[in-house]
Assembly symmetry: C4
Homo-oligomer: 222 residues x 4
């Protein structure tokens, strides 16, 4: 493997652009979510009580907003975890990452769809499919990066198993949650939200542990 | 605390991704605000005077726009100040920062809500709650970073007290402003705007001081 | 060519800002595309079957979304490929890149136009013109960077010919596809989609080749 | 001026965050502009001729789009030019830059306002005021950075005069253009567009000069 300077300049790809486009997409996605919450019309509001009632009527919109923000955040953290270890890229990794981003940009749609039809089974299937695609692309992303030696061998030896296990565990939980819709759609949604809350708020319990002298398992999650 | 190369690659997290996603969210939030100002309809405009009148009728929209831009700017500066000193991160700091960004993305909604209902008390409570959440998350962000040794000890010794004091002072002023709504909602809004203007335009008076040979206290504000 | 420190500070331009503004534009463009897909109205939906039917009626919107995402992705990858080799910039390269971004920001419009009028020839001409402008600006971008010595001579010797050939080949295919509209607009669209799929999914077949010990030709595509 | 390590960590601010938030705002602004162009309604379109006519009816929208893109681009290039030389920042420069970005985010509104009322004088005044604010903030930005020693003295000696002269010349031309509205609003718009085209396409004539062995004056423009 010849490694003169010219060769390095041609074949040496860093992950800077992948990370930049991903943070761009995530940043826009996170910010656009709030646009779905519309301010109540002024015409029907006459008293402080009317206004509070109109505001509280938006509560399902706020829930959907929180859910979508949390899901987007979970996968942003997962993406960050992987690219902390991935030290190079090629054209294919660019496309695998773009397909991951494709599923990220779908989330505002599928979450809103879920929020509008909370008593139906079909939106849960659509929402689950979206999360499944995100998880699958993240898994492929990691597997491809490992197979093509973009992850340091010693680092990979430590993080590979827990990272893959976390994706598979999370996806199993999401699938179980989705299947609960045959009992009750609302139960299904509640379960999915609980799984997500576990990722977002786990830090409350982990805070007490000290500051990472060992490699924390929670650090290799998608 | 073993520190070989592999360990560093696994446990060494920089703050690059946190800063990138934050600047993405702030950049989008700042730019979306203007979309709330709608150009007056052409049908009713027949003369230069009609057009000027239609434009001036938008003045409350412009005020809301300026207010929202200023608030977003204040917290962007505060965020920048903290991450200038924070030299590392972990999964929890990622989530603390995401919750901070959640409150940032709410601002366009709560500011517009305030702008549409300037004579009511309830929107002031909502707006204050939003600013309170932003301040609280920034405070937690700093406290967490300090407790987990992501801030250099010598740097922390100098900036910790003024930084915390500034958040608490600002939040006390915002709370006082919000409570003024029981006298008059407009007085309350005016007071909040004045507190914000103080952060945004304080630089006019500080300009004369010279160029920072001591550590300027205004540098550690949220 | 005098090269003291002051001179370098004045004339030495890196490509950081060009890459940052480009990733910003691409990130926003990729994320905005989904906003075109509107959630079906609740009023007419009474059963699970109604909802599935309403969802499936959106299928052309999803196709347009995928097409636009793929086109944007192809040109982002092409842009990344060039700026991996371009090591400097000047004012003119800034403007060439801005004109490239202008054509990128047009894509959401021209793709939606194509999606709404799939049985007409004119939208195909408009869409083709957009792709032609993007390809042309990327070609000019590369030619300008080479002529003004922003690409290392040894690197250029290897990547110049394949990079230019790929742009010309791709553009010839797009032109052929566009001309097919005189036989049938749908045939024309299908052909353009196939050309694009070739760029997006070529990685499936290339995966087997190993991990880039030679300079892969697919690495110098726009 | 004591310069131990702790001091540097506290007082040493780079311009990374300012550049990141600016590229975020510019990237979003550039991409949002196209959303103003609406695809013609399907109901009234029956033939290829109908469609072409409906498309051509959008021509003023396209002109406004090009104008807004060009203006945004000009000020992005100007901003890049300055921050190439500015090597540090403080809280005040953060706020000066935010106020500059405030005027940048206004542009989509003022340009659309101009595009909708091309036969009136008032929108020209509003549009001119916007450009004037952008130019003024860029001028203050540079002046502040120089006065507070964020620009290397030797670099400043070379670029200061031409950079300031270029802002003043450009602003004089814009003012002259705006005043032409008392003869004819359309003449005024045409003149402003010509001034802007001069910045955007000047590179066509400068290309012949060679590749920057002297410090090119066009490099220090806003």
């Amino acid at each position: 493997m010849r490694k003169d300077n010219t060769y390095n300049k041609i074949a040496g790809h860093d992950t800077g652009r992948i990370i930049a486009i991903s943070d761009g997409v995530f940043g826009v996605a996170l910010t656009l979510l709030v646009l779905e919450i519309r301010i109540p019309f002024m015409d029907s509001i006459r008293s402080e009580q009317d206004l509070i009632a109109a505001f509280l009527a938006l509560k399902s919109k706020f829930l959907v907003y929180l859910l979508a923000f949390m899901t987007t955040g979970i996968f942003w953290v997962g993406h960050s975890s992987q690219y902390k270890y991935i030290e190079g890229s090629d054209r294919n990794l660019n496309w695998i990452n773009l397909l991951f981003l494709l599923s990220v940009t779908m989330l505002p749609f599928t979450t809103a769809f879920l929020g509008d039809y909370t008593h139906f089974k079909f939106p849960i299937a659509v929402y689950w499919l979206n999360i499944f695609l995100m998880g699958t692309m993240l898994y492929i992303n990691w597997a491809y990066a490992c197979r093509h030696h973009f992850v340091d061998e010693k680092v990979r030896a430590v993080v590979d198993i827990p990272l893959r296990r976390r994706i598979i565990t999370a996806q199993s939980l999401y699938l179980s949650g989705a299947l609960l819709c045959f009992i009750s759609p609302l139960l299904s949604i509640a379960f999915i939200i609980l799984v997500q809350l576990n990722y977002a708020f786990a830090f409350l319990s982990q805070r007490k542990r000290g500051s990472g002298t060992a490699i924390p398992e929670e650090d290799v999650i998608p």
